[in-house]
C-alpha cells in the first residue's frame, strides 16, 4: 500500500510562487505523469515530494504519515534523475548499492539485491563497468536499478528520457511500462513530452503556472479536455482552435453554425486534425480551405490550410496524399467532434 496526498502544497522562491495551493492524490500502484510546459512547476513539485525542496506551505502525506519534515532518504522514495546522476568514479554495482551501503546493510544482502535488480534490467554483464563505458540507455537502466534496489514505496522520475535519442526513447518507454507492470509499484513521472504522458500514464496531471489544469486518464484528457490549455497541450499536431461567437443558443464561426448553449460572447471552437474529413460526405459542417503546405509522413499526411478569413487549419489525411499546395480542399467536420470553449477558456458541455 502506497498512497500519496498533497494538500495545499505551496512553494515560493522569494516573491515568486512556483506551486500554488496544489492538491494531488496518487493511489496505490498508480502511474501518474505530471506534464506541462517548462516552468510550470512540475519538477519543483516532484522535488518537494522527494524532499529536495522544502514546502512553503501545505502538507505531504505518504500512507497517512506527514512527510514535510522527514529527510529525503527516510521518505521511502527513490528518484531517477534527468541526467541519471550516476557517480562517474564508481562501478555500476557500486552505484546501485550506495543507498544500501550507507544504510549499513549486510554485504550478502546488498549483493543479492543488486544481482536481482541487475537481472530485472539485464545489467548483469555490466556490473563492473564505470558509467563512462555505458551507452545512454544502459546508464538509464542503471539509474532505474539504483532506485529498484532501495525497494521504495514510490518511484519518482524527473524527465528520465529527455537525454536519449528518439529511437532509444521509444524503447525505454516500452521498458518503463513493462517495469511498472513487473514491479507493481506506485510511480510519479515528470515530463514535458505529452507523448510520454499519453503512452505511460494511468493518469495524467496537466500543470500550468503552478496549478493543476486537469487530471484524468489519457483518454479523458484527449477526448474531453477541461479547458483550452489542456486542449492545446495534449495531442500532436495541436488541436485546431477557431474563433467564434455565441448568441446564447448557437455558435457561429467560419465553419458554420452549431447549436450549443454557451454564454453569449466570444468563444473558441476546437477540433482535432484527425476528425476533419476530406470531401463533403459525413454530413457534418462543410467548408473549403486552400492548401498552403503538405507534410507526407507515410502512414498519414498533414495538410495545412488557410481559410477564407485568414485563420489556419491542420487536417490529417490517410496515406501519402497527392494533394499539392495551392489546391482547394473541400472538408467536413462531424458536429459531435466539435469542442466549444467559453471566453474564460473552460469547455462548454456539448452533450458528449
Amino acid at each position: 500500500m502506497s498512497e500519496l496526498h498533497l494538500r495545499s502544497a505551496t512553494k515560493r522562491f522569494g516573491a515568486l510562487t512556483v506551486i500554488d495551493q496544489l492538491d494531488l492524490d496518487v493511489g496505490d500502484k498508480e502511474f501518474v505523469v505530471l506534464v506541462g510546459p517548462s516552468g510550470c512547476g512540475k519538477s519543483t513539485l516532484l522535488r518537494m515530494i522527494a524532499g529536495l525542496e522544502d514546502f512553503s506551505g501545505g502538507e505531504l502525506t505518504i500512507d497517512g504519515e506527514r512527510m514535510n519534515e522527514v529527510p529525503a532518504a527516510r521518505r521511502g522514495l527513490a528518484m531517477v534523475f534527468q541526467s541519471y546522476a550516476l557517480y562517474p568514479h564508481m562501478t555500476v554495482a557500486q552505484n546501485m548499492s550506495v543507498g544500501l551501503r550507507i544504510a549499513g546493510e549486510d554485504k550478502a544482502v546488498i549483493a543479492a539485491k543488486v544481482a536481482e535488480a541487475a537481472r530485472t534490467l539485464q545489467l548483469e554483464a555490466l556490473l563492473d563497468r564505470k558509467p563512462k563505458a555505458l551507452s545512454g540507455g544502459q546508464r538509464q537502466r542503471v539509474a532505474i536499478g539504483r532506485a529498484i534496489v532501495r525497494n521504495p514505496r514510490i518511484f519518482l522520475f524527473d524527465e528520465p528520457l529527455s537525454n536519449l535519442d528518439a529511437a532509444l526513447r521509444l524503447q525505454m518507454r516500452l521498458e518503463l511500462a513493462r517495469l511498472h507492470d513487473a514491479l507493481d509499484a506506485t510511480m510519479i513521472y515528470v515530463t514535458h513530452d505529452q507523448v510520454e504522458a499519453m503512452t505511460l500514464a494511468d493518469r495524467i496531471v496537466v500543470m500550468n503556472g503552478g496549478r493543476i489544469e486537469q487530471s484524468g486518464t489519457p483518454e479523458e484528457l484527449y477526448e474531453r479536455p477541461a479547458n483550452l490549455f489542456v486542449a492545446g497541450f495534449i495531442g500532436s499536431p495541436k488541436m485546431n482552435l477557431i474563433e467564434g461567437q455565441s448568441d446564447g443558443n448557437s455558435v457561429t464561426s467560419i465553419l458554420g453554425t452549431i447549436r450549443v448553449a454557451a454564454r453569449r460572447g466570444p468563444v473558441t471552437l476546437g477540433v482535432r486534425p484527425e476528425h476533419i474529413r476530406k470531401g463533403e460526405e459525413g454530413g457534418g459542417m462543410t467548408l473549403t480551405g486552400r492548401v498552403s503546405a503538405v507534410e507526407r509522413l507515410g502512414a498519414n499526411s498533414f495538410a495545412y490550410l488557410s481559410l477564407a478569413d485568414g485563420s489556419s487549419l491542420t487536417v490529417e489525411l490517410a496515406g501519402m496524399t497527392d494533394i499539392r499546395p495551392g489546391a482547394d480542399l473541400p472538408l467536413s467536420i462531424p458536429r459531435d467532434k466539435m469542442l466549444v470553449f467559453d471566453a474564460s477558456g473552460a469547455r462548454v458541455s456539448t452533450g458528449l
Binding site: 527516510r74 541526467s83 568514479h89
Partner: protein, 282 residues
C-alpha cells in the same frame, strides 16, 4: 589557428618566420642563460666563475655541493619540506571543504560567505605583518614551524578555495541530490563524491600551494630566527652572508635549493600550468 597542412609559403612569409624564430631564440637565451650560468658556476672555482662566464668548468667541482650541503642547506631543506607538506595538506583540505559547502550545500548568505573568503586574496601579507608578529608571539609559536604554517594556510585559503570552487561548480548538483536521496549526509557526499571527482583540481591546487609556500619570503623572514627552523628561502640569505667570497659554493647551494621544485615542476608541468591558468584567466 594552426598552420593548415598543404598551405604553401611565399618567400616573404618564410623570411618573417625565420626572423621570428631567431628572435625567439634570443628571448630563450635571455630567459634561460642566467640559470645555465648558475648551474655552470656551481661547478667552478670562484675565480674561474668570474673569469670565464661562458666556458664550461675546467674540472667539475662536485665538492662545491658537498660544502654547501654541510654548510646548512640540508637543514633548511628539511624545514622547507615539513612546512610545505603540512601547509599544503591543510590548505587543500580546508579549501576543498569550504568550496564544497559553497557549491553543494544549502547555506544562508552564500554569496557573502564566499566573498568573506575571497576577500582575503586582496590583502597583501605586509598589511598584516606587524599584528601577526605580535599574535604569533602571543600564541607562543614564534620561531616554530607553526609560526609559518598557520599564516601560510590562512593566506593560501582564498585563492585555493576560489580555484577548487570553480571546478566543483561544474560537478552536477544532481549527484549530491541523488546521494541525499540515498541517505547520505554532507560528510559522506564530500568524501565519497566531491573529493574523488575533484582530484585533478586538487592536484593542481596542491602543486600551486606548495610552490607558493616553498617560495614564501616575508613571513619566513619575520616569524622564525633559528637556523634550525628557517626555510630554504630565508636560509639561503644567512647562507649567502656566511659565504661572502666563496661564490661557487653559494651557487651550488642555490642549485640545491631549487632542485626539489624544479623536479616537481618538470614532472607535473601540465597540472601546474593548468591550475594556474584556471585560476587567473577565466
Amino acid at each position: 589557428m594552426a598552420r593548415r597542412i598543404g598551405q604553401t609559403e611565399t618567400g616573404g612569409e618564410r623570411a618573417v618566420r625565420m626572423g621570428t624564430v631567431a628572435l625567439f631564440w634570443v628571448f630563450v637565451i635571455l630567459s634561460v642563460y642566467p640559470m645555465v650560468w648558475l648551474v655552470l658556476s656551481s661547478f667552478k672555482t670562484s675565480s674561474e666563475m668570474f673569469g670565464s662566464a661562458w666556458a664550461l668548468p675546467k674540472a667539475w667541482r662536485w665538492q662545491n655541493y658537498g660544502a654547501a650541503w654541510d654548510y646548512g642547506v640540508s637543514q633548511y631543506l628539511i624545514s622547507s619540506v615539513i612546512v610545505t607538506v603540512v601547509s599544503t595538506a591543510l590548505i587543500v583540505v580546508l579549501a576543498a571543504a569550504a568550496a564544497y559547502a559553497l557549491v553543494a550545500l544549502k547555506l544562508r548568505g552564500k554569496t557573502l560567505l564566499y566573498l568573506a573568503i575571497l576577500g582575503g586574496s586582496i590583502l597583501p601579507p605586509e598589511v598584516a605583518l606587524l599584528p601577526l608578529f605580535r599574535t604569533v608571539s602571543a600564541l607562543g609559536i614564534y620561531n616554530t614551524y607553526w609560526a609559518l604554517i598557520i599564516p601560510y594556510v590562512a593566506f593560501g585559503l582564498p585563492f585555493t578555495t576560489f580555484l577548487i570552487r570553480a571546478y566543483m561548480v561544474k560537478i552536477p548538483l544532481e549527484l549530491a541530490e541523488a546521494a541525499k536521496m540515498d541517505g547520505a549526509g554532507p560528510f559522506w557526499t564530500f568524501w565519497n563524491v566531491y573529493l574523488p571527482l575533484s582530484r585533478p583540481i586538487l592536484a593542481s591546487a596542491a602543486l600551486i600551494s606548495a610552490m607558493r609556500v616553498w617560495n614564501e619570503f616575508i613571513f619566513a623572514l619575520t616569524f622564525v630566527e633559528s637556523e634550525s627552523v628557517k626555510t630554504v628561502t630565508i636560509g639561503m640569505m644567512s647562507f649567502a652572508n656566511a659565504l661572502r667570497g666563496d661564490w661557487a659554493v653559494l651557487m651550488a647551494g642555490l642549485v640545491i635549493s631549487v632542485l626539489p621544485i624544479l623536479a616537481v615542476f618538470l614532472v607535473l608541468q601540465r597540472q601546474f600550468i593548468g591550475g594556474l591558468t584556471q585560476g587567473a584567466v577565466k
